[in-house]
Subunit: 335 residues, 2 copies
């Protein structure tokens, strides 16, 4: 239904110029063909994932374009990490309102290119369209795992320990700070603590480094994108188990700990908020030390937060007094 327009040829050139440097793999054919071709690593399964982000829904339209790009890529890399997979590359669909031009596309492409290089995850192709709606970015990500070794959600067994990487709740607190600057004063946060929380919201850190350790030691895993409580419940349902999490063991950053001390009700935001992009894994007790050792060796902290029990999908949290924590909204939903 599009009308042909001479201006579009110029735009096509702009987009090609911005994104061609990201298509470093020879199988991307410099984005000059209709499709890419890649020889999959021998003995490996492909791991396939797609995740989209929409302005006003998953990011603020005024967010720096380079961080928007990096987040769009990293939320997909985070899934690969949790599945024990290494990145091979990605496809990009950009749907842009008419006012988006070089001033936005150039830093977007720079941010994306920087991360594509850092994570050895080249661009294999894309599609760009115009819309009357908000900026919409969809990434389809391909990774590889040794055949049959993708770490599943299903696989947790009673007796396993529940672990998470990094710290939980930072991004959800960063989002509150982003929306309501007065929260920083209320929580008594230093500037560096505010910066930490905001950065965790803007640019997640996918735990690609521990993919191999997860394959070796985890019985089940997923990334935490929609909140620890809700995502844990999903894992419990698919594995057909329950979990008992001690809230006091959930790892917090200094900034999150400071905010929580001033406003104890934030515990709900911390365990049910989204955008953590940490890995949640279930681990047979005999594997726990080996997983921790391998993770530490690549700079990723692992914290034991509770146990897997028999059950049918219950993700229970108990507070410092051993009382059940009732969550009003256990999960964000990206549907």
């Amino acid at each position: 239904m599009q009308e042909p327009q001479a201006a579009e040829a110029g735009e096509a050139r702009l987009i090609a110029r911005s994104f061609r440097p990201l298509a470093a793999h020879p199988g991307a054919f410099g984005l000059l063909d209709d499709a890419a071709a890649i020889a999959p690593p021998p003995g490996c399964d492909l791991v396939l994932k797609t995740d989209g982000v929409v302005a006003g829904m998953h990011f603020f339209p005024e967010d720096p374009p380079d961080t928007v790009a990096r987040k769009a890529l990293r939320v997909n890399l985070s899934d690969l990490a949790a599945k024990g997979a290494s990145p091979l590359g990605f496809l990009l669909t950009l749907v842009l309102p008419p006012e988006i031009g070089d001033a936005w596309l150039a830093p977007f492409a720079r941010g994306l290119g920087s991360d594509a290089a850092h994570f050895a995850c080249p661009l294999f192709g894309g599609d760009t369209d115009r819309t009357t709606g908000p900026i919409t970015i969809s990434i389809a990500m391909f990774g590889a795992v040794p055949h049959g070794k993708m770490v599943r959600r299903a696989g947790a067994r009673p007796g396993d320990r529940v672990v998470v990487t990094g710290t939980i709740g930072d991004a959800a607190l960063g989002l509150i700070l982003r929306r309501e600057r007065s929260a920083a004063a209320r929580w008594g946060l230093a500037q560096s603590q505010q910066d930490h929380l905001m950065r965790r919201y803007l640019v997640p850190e996918p735990r690609i480094a521990i993919a191999e350790a997860l394959r070796a030691h985890a019985s089940a895993a997923m990334d935490v994108s929609d909140g620890l409580a809700g995502d844990l419940a999903k894992l419990c349902r698919v594995s057909g188990v329950a979990t008992d999490i001690e809230v006091t063991r959930v790892p917090l950053s200094d900034a999150a700990r400071a905010a929580l001390a001033k406003e104890p009700a934030l515990i709900e935001t911390i365990v049910a908020g989204g955008d953590d992009y940490e890995v949640l894994a279930c681990v047979p007790p005999d594997n726990l030390e080996a997983l921790r050792r391998q993770a530490t060796a690549v700079g990723v902290a692992i914290t034991d937060i509770g146990a897997v029990a028999a059950g049918q999908g219950q993700a229970r949290f108990v507070d410092a007094c051993g009382q059940p924590l009732a969550l009003a909204h256990p999960s964000f939903s990206h549907f």
Copy 2:
């Protein structure tokens, strides 16, 4: 940035119910995991392609949801066919305005499922988000070709013949009919001819059946999505050749031929309009008969429309009198 809402859990279930039947491959894990895993066929390269469609841009918001789904899938299958690849499966990103519910999603999923089964191209995963903008559908498609055998755009050589499958221009004429019903009377079209053109616009026919023949016999190929003239120019540029096309040899349906007889200026719409989703290929003369024979055997017509010559990207068209055809807008652009 989404707020948690209990209603969303219901919607997630609706979407899961609609799309789970399409995820028939065991590696899709019933859409219950974060990612899919698939063992690539031995000795094959993966062929990767993504193409998105936006309501009001690539389809009419009031188009039947089942045909929207089928077109979204088929435009990607058409690329695979032109590259000589067989489909393996796809990922789906659906970005939906708030008013879209079961009444649209159910027929959309049925249409998609029908084609996924027909083309042996299962769903491997997806993501659904809400938007304040129009319906936006992005599909990432994976196919397979024997290692190193993807049919490229680059590869045409002077002396090759230029061929196309099927008929050209139907969808562009169907789009005019869709926008301007009086055109049918002006062109003197019978109802069946109108139906033919409209159907060609709504639901393209990807030429998957000739993928193997293209691998065996074509020196270069691409699908015709943005108009024969413009797409041929792209192929010429990447191959570093020119082409001389005889407009009178471009294959037309009865309906297109009838319309053209009444309105000769439609030749521009026919050769420069988009949405054909036929295959354009360059073929060494010695291979032409074998390609035609193999294509005919699977029910696909192949027409020789001209020759490849030395040059630097010129896609020349000459009319019945041997005069150059000047095209005001040689191509649609989907950028």
